[in-house]
């Protein structure tokens, strides 16, 4: 059956629906990817445990809803400072020791952290799939020949707001300027009196706070389980490579492209195909445009 017809009697305009789905999905992917690209841009570390922090955010959304009947939207007020704290703690306990080590050591460290977090979740909360169904996940909205639910729209709006706030922070605050300076020339930054260890701590914490918020936001939209982060983190590598490593605006555009590929691929070929399509895209970019789709902008984009 044509997937559009499952949505009911109302007329669904396929292209409008695909467009809306792309934008809604892209906004959420952006919030996930922007933390990854921020950490890479400033610290030159690929955080392979990024998806696991997303998973922890999803569990936070799940438990707050199940135990306290707390709406995921309100959980955000707790999750952002909480994940910022978790980010600081992870930096101090884990990342700080490897920040000047070789890339191999860093990869082993973050992959190890990823495995540890997945298995901790498995031991604590079992491998069962959980769902979060607040009222807004069941509230369909039909507009101009498209249909979506309120959870998606609000998740999109909040994700986009947080992403824009992060951009503004990087561009217009002194701390943001200090972070970009550290990315562009670490020694020169030290000579300006900048404590680069503190910069890395804040960077990592901000990246984790962003992905934690994304986890809470997607908890009503996807099943919650210990390896839930993997599906997202894989696509956020695609996003980050598309946009250029360390480029935050590129990450936003890359998110929309990946979302478009996923939405269109799922519609015409079936959801099982979506990963094949965006990994084909990923390989294509790596082969033909390794600096990202937007050309050789090089170090220009470090940090922002």
């Amino acid at each position: 059956m044509d997937p559009a017809r499952r949505l009911g009697r109302a007329q669904i305009d396929v292209f409008a629906q695909l467009g809306v789905s792309t934008i809604l999905l892209g906004g959420i992917y952006a919030l996930i990817a922007v933390g990854l690209t921020l950490i890479f841009g400033i610290m030159r570390v690929v955080n392979f445990a990024h998806g696991e922090f997303l998973m922890l955010g999803m569990y936070l959304g799940f438990w707050a809803f199940t135990l306290l009947s707390m709406d995921p939207w309100f959980v955000l007020f707790v999750s952002i400072p909480l994940f910022f704290g978790i980010g600081v703690l992870t930096y101090v306990l884990v990342m700080k020791g490897v920040i000047h080590a070789s890339h191999n050591v860093q990869i082993f460290t973050t992959v190890g952290l990823s495995t540890a977090l997945q298995n901790t979740a498995l031991v604590l909360w079992s491998g069962d799939f959980h769902t979060v169904r607040p009222w807004h996940a069941l509230r369909p909205i039909r507009m101009l020949g498209t249909a979506f639910n309120l959870s998606q729209v609000v998740a999109f709006v909040i994700a986009l707001t947080l992403t824009v706030l992060l951009f503004a922070f990087m561009r217009f605050t002194h701390t943001g300027r200090v972070m970009r300076a550290t990315a562009q020339d670490r020694d020169a930054a030290i000579l300006m009196g900048i404590d680069t260890d503190r910069v890395y701590r804040i960077t990592f914490a901000l990246g984790i706070a962003a992905v934690g918020a994304a986890g809470v936001l997607v908890s009503p939209l996807y099943a919650v389980y210990p390896t839930a982060g993997l599906q997202f983190v894989l696509l956020s590598y695609v996003v980050v490579v598309l946009g250029g490593l360390g480029d935050m605006v590129g990450a936003l555009i890359g998110s929309l492209i990946v979302a478009a590929v996923e939405v269109a691929g799922s519609y015409w070929f079936g959801t099982a195909w979506k990963e094949i399509f965006y990994f084909l895209l990923f390989i294509g970019v790596l082969v033909f445009r390794p600096a990202g789709l937007f050309g050789q902008r090089g170090a220009e984009n470090l940090g922002v």
Partner: protein
């Protein structure tokens, strides 16, 4: 004011400085000259904390800086303009200058210092919105000096500020150093332009392969026979 006491510094197994001692006096210009790879930059990196000496002490006004981390030395007033300018290339001139005023002490006086820097280098005010990486070499050097001044240094260290600049700009930079010094700044200058550096400096020292071989008044060194032969081609 700023004193090095018996510094031995290494890069890996390679010894770069041997028992270097010197003193920079308050309000004066101290010039450190010598050939390439003589250890001049290393000496500055030891003072600013980017290189940790294996032996010896760095002392500022009686306070031992040797164990103070590099970024914290800036707050104490030790500020270096690194060799090759090292501006933040993808940031505007203004952003670079504002980054200079990072320490709380410097930030409190940020607006006043910025005005001083723009008076000193009117061209920076004209180009304030331009990316630092797109400035000419001379302008970049001015921006780098301006950025360091934004930190409100007590000792300003300049590493090869005239390297690669046209003669007219070399003169401009030396004039600027003179002006900043006349405004009361203590300056430590590392230079390959031996004659001009020694003319400007009240005190100077010559480094050769990591050893301090001559030490004295700038004018006196300029008249020294050995120095004339080695560096001035006379």
């Amino acid at each position: 004011m700023l004193r090095l006491e018996g510094i031995d510094a290494f890069y890996g197994d390679l010894q770069a400085l041997y028992d270097v001692s010197l003193e920079v006096e308050q309000g004066r210009v101290f010039a450190l000259v010598g050939a390439n790879a003589a250890g001049k930059s290393t000496t500055l990196r030891v003072i600013s904390g980017l290189v940790t000496p294996r032996r010896g002490r760095v002392v500022l006004d009686g306070q031992d800086l040797t164990t103070v981390p590099a970024h914290a030395r800036v707050d104490l007033g030790v500020v270096q303009v690194p060799e090759g300018r090292r501006l933040f290339p993808f940031m505007s001139v203004t952003e670079n200058l504002l980054l200079g005023a990072h320490t709380p002490r410097a930030r409190a006086e940020r607006d006043a210092t910025l005005k001083y820097v723009y008076t000193l280098f009117p061209v920076l005010a004209e180009r304030r919105g331009q990316l630092a990486g797109s400035l000419s070499g001379g302008e970049q050097q001015m921006c780098a000096i301006g950025r360091a001044l934004m930190a409100r240094p007590r000792v300003l260290m300049l590493d090869e500020p005239t390297l690669g600049l046209a003669p007219v700009l070399v003169k401009r930079i030396f004039d600027t150093v003179r002006t900043i010094n006349a405004d009361g700044m203590t300056i430590m200058l590392v230079e390959q332009n031996v004659r001009q550096a020694l003319t400007l400096a009240q005190r100077a020292a010559v480094l050769e392969s990591g050893h301090l071989v001559l030490h004295g008044q700038g004018a006196a060194l300029l008249a020294d026979e050995r120095l004339k032969r080695a560096y001035l081609g006379m």
